[in-house]
């Protein structure tokens, strides 16, 4: 009999332990997602950014004027169909603004995604293989870092067609060094860990280890940096288009709209502040989302925000 009670008690504790274990067995993804969802500022920023992105595609469908219509006459005041008035050529300023937002977002996300892919690959391979490959890849990074990014971008965009994807590609070409340095550092420390050694001992090749072991373990750093590089790309593109060496018509961007309208800042402030506000909103919300992601991925962060 004592035996039975003992087993029952043991069963009970085992069940309790199992139950406790069940309650804690959340996947890493859901923990991180949970932390991110509870980051209030990041969620508000995400909502604002999504709203901005969606409305830049949807609102033009309901506007009375197309972005290309020039029938109205230059510099009309807001009102009467033109919610933000018209610019010098008589194009509807709101339609222009929304179209610029579309292009700026497209450029920024293209730059962030492609430069992250290139940077992560180079950084992870350099950090894992070490030796001559590492030092030559890092000298390549130094090489790209010494020439002023905006100058070479201007030269290349001027040499090719100034369309939005050329600007995006060239910006990405000079934007991968930072993430490559960071991932190299992480790959160096990760490749000294036992699980990488175990994988190598059981015959895992370089690409297997890089893709299955190194990159999944750096996903937090990669995501945060990719997010932050979106906001850098928005600002760099705006600067480039402002000096007239970035995107050109028929494509457009927020920087180009600012350049078109900045002389009107006192007379017709709505023409200037619209694109200005759009740029600030995009880069600010993305910074906050990056901050929220950083907090969510940080394993030292155990505090749950209410």
């Amino acid at each position: 009999m004592p035996d039975a009670t003992k087993t029952a008690a043991a069963d009970g504790t085992a069940a309790a332990a199992r139950h406790e274990f069940d309650a804690k067995a959340r996947s890493q993804t859901s923990i991180i997602l949970g932390r991110f969802v509870h980051h209030r500022l990041a969620m508000v920023s995400l909502a604002v950014l999504l709203l901005l992105a969606i409305s830049s595609f949807v609102v033009p469908l309901f506007l009375k004027y197309n972005y290309a219509d020039t029938t109205a006459g230059g510099y009309l005041k807001p009102g009467g169909g033109h919610i933000l008035g018209t610019d010098q050529l008589g194009r509807d300023a709101l339609a222009q603004l929304l179209r610029g937002t579309q292009f700026s977002l497209a450029i920024a996300f293209t730059v962030a995604i492609s430069s992250t892919i290139v940077g992560v690959l180079i950084g992870a391979v350099a950090g894992y293989l070490k030796g001559i490959i590492d030092s030559s890849l890092m000298r390549l990074v130094d090489l790209f870092l010494i020439v002023p990014q905006i100058a070479l971008t201007a030269l290349l965009v001027h040499a090719f067609a100034p369309s939005w994807y050329v600007v995006a590609a060239v910006l990405a070409l000079f934007n991968w060094m930072q993430i490559a340095r960071i991932t190299r550092g992480e790959a160096l420390s990760l490749s000294a860990r036992e699980f990488v050694e175990a994988s190598r001992a059981s015959g895992g090749g370089t690409w297997h280890i890089v893709f299955k072991h190194l990159i999944p373990n750096m996903i937090g750093t990669i995501t945060v940096n990719a997010t932050l590089s979106v906001s850098t790309a928005v600002l760099t593109e705006a600067a480039l288009s402002f000096i007239g060496l970035g995107v050109q018509l028929p494509d457009t961007s927020l920087g180009l709209i600012v350049q078109d309208n900045y002389t009107q800042v006192l007379l017709r402030p709505w023409l200037f502040w619209g694109p200005f506000l759009a740029i600030v909103l995009i880069s600010m919300t993305i910074s906050f989302i990056g901050d929220g992601l950083r907090d969510a991925f940080d394993p030292r962060q155990t505090k749950v925000r209410a």
């Binding site: 090489l143 030269l155 290349l156 001027h158 600002l235 402002f242 900045y262 740029i279 910074s287 906050f288």
Partner: protein
């Protein structure tokens, strides 16, 4: 230390050589320097040919690079070939522009550094106070603003301020179109008024982003040192609060910011393009924009060589500073 310096200098030479060669290829393949001439009426094919021989365009790229490099080292950077530049020597163009930009950038960066350190230290000491939250939001806002818009807004407020001064029967103070061509005036009062009026607006617009970066960096490193054991020891010894903060915590917290400062100066000399454009300063930015849009290879090469060298030199300074300020780091 000395050995380290020599070794770093020796490493940077091949990097600069390879970099300049790649940029040379890029610049050479980015366009045709005689395109403007070819479409001009009354220019024969023979003239084009002799001109292209004169410019060395009929040689291979390696020969052209070697010619450029040997010329560059000897101080002969070639002449501008853009139409309307009157074959201005590149050396003069670039060095004048560099002087203009340096005057603007170094002052702005120094002011941003001092302000940034002060704000950073104060935010760290009073962490989570209203001041800290306010400065954090200001820094985030400054990071998110395109410098072009900041410059435009600052310029227009400057113009309005001038009009206010005029309406009060005073002279204009702020300059929004570059430094005065004929000096800053004769007596001291005039010089001070002209000098401050000329530099104030571009300095503000250059400062914003640097200031945000410095204050955030200083706050983070100050928080780290304030929580370090040796600061607790200093407090336990009974030192006064100001002595603990300024003598013990702040001095160590200055290390990361000072290296960031050296890196930033190198980068911003080529990056002040927007501010120079808006305020009409004929600095490095204006030279670059002109050289790109007129396609002027000699000027472009001179520009790239100078800025790349400056970046390399300031990177080196920042590494050396790190070793000097933090004796735990041995440079070998």
């Amino acid at each position: 230390m000395f050995q380290y310096l020599i070794r770093r200098l020796l490493i940077s030479i091949p990097i600069l050589l390879i970099g300049s060669f790649l940029v040379f290829i890029l610049v050479a393949s980015a366009g045709d320097p005689l395109a403007g001439l070819r479409t001009k009426p009354g220019i024969t094919a023979q003239q084009i040919q002799s001109l292209s021989a004169q410019l060395g365009l009929d040689h291979s790229i390696l020969v052209r690079y070697w010619d450029w490099l040997t010329g560059f080292v000897r101080g002969d950077w070639g002449n501008s070939i853009a139409l309307g530049e009157a074959q201005a020597p590149v050396f003069d163009t670039v060095s004048n522009a560099l002087w203009v930009t340096m005057r603007l950038v170094i002052g702005a960066e120094l002011i941003a550094l001092v302000l940034g350190i002060a704000v950073g230290v104060f935010s760290a000491v009073r962490q989570y106070s209203i001041f800290d939250y306010l400065m954090t939001s200001v820094a985030f806002l400054m990071f998110s603003m395109p410098i072009a818009c900041v410059a435009v807004v600052v310029k227009n407020y400057g113009i309005q301020f001038n009009e206010l001064l005029l309406s009060l029967h005073l002279n204009r103070w702020l300059t929004t179109a570059g430094p005065p061509a004929n000096g800053f005036g004769h007596n001291l009062g005039q010089v001070i008024v002209n000098y401050s009026g000329t530099f104030l607006l571009p300095t503000i617009s250059l400062m914003t982003i640097s200031f945000a970066a410095y204050s955030r960096f200083q706050r983070a490193s100050m928080l780290e040192t304030l929580n370090a054991d040796y600061v607790r020891t200093a407090r336990a010894k009974g030192l006064s609060q100001s002595r603990v903060i300024f003598r013990h915590a702040m001095r160590n917290a200055l290390i990361p910011v000072s290296t960031l400062f050296a890196l930033n100066i190198g980068a911003i000399i080529g990056g002040a393009i927007i501010t120079e454009r808006v305020f009409g300063w004929n600095g490095m930015g204006t030279v670059l924009v002109k050289a790109v849009s007129n396609y002027d290879p000699p000027t472009l090469m001179g520009w790239f060589a100078v800025t790349a060298t400056i970046v390399v030199v300031f990177n080196l300074i920042s590494d050396l500073l790190y070793g000097l300020l933090d004796p735990r780091i041995r440079l070998a």
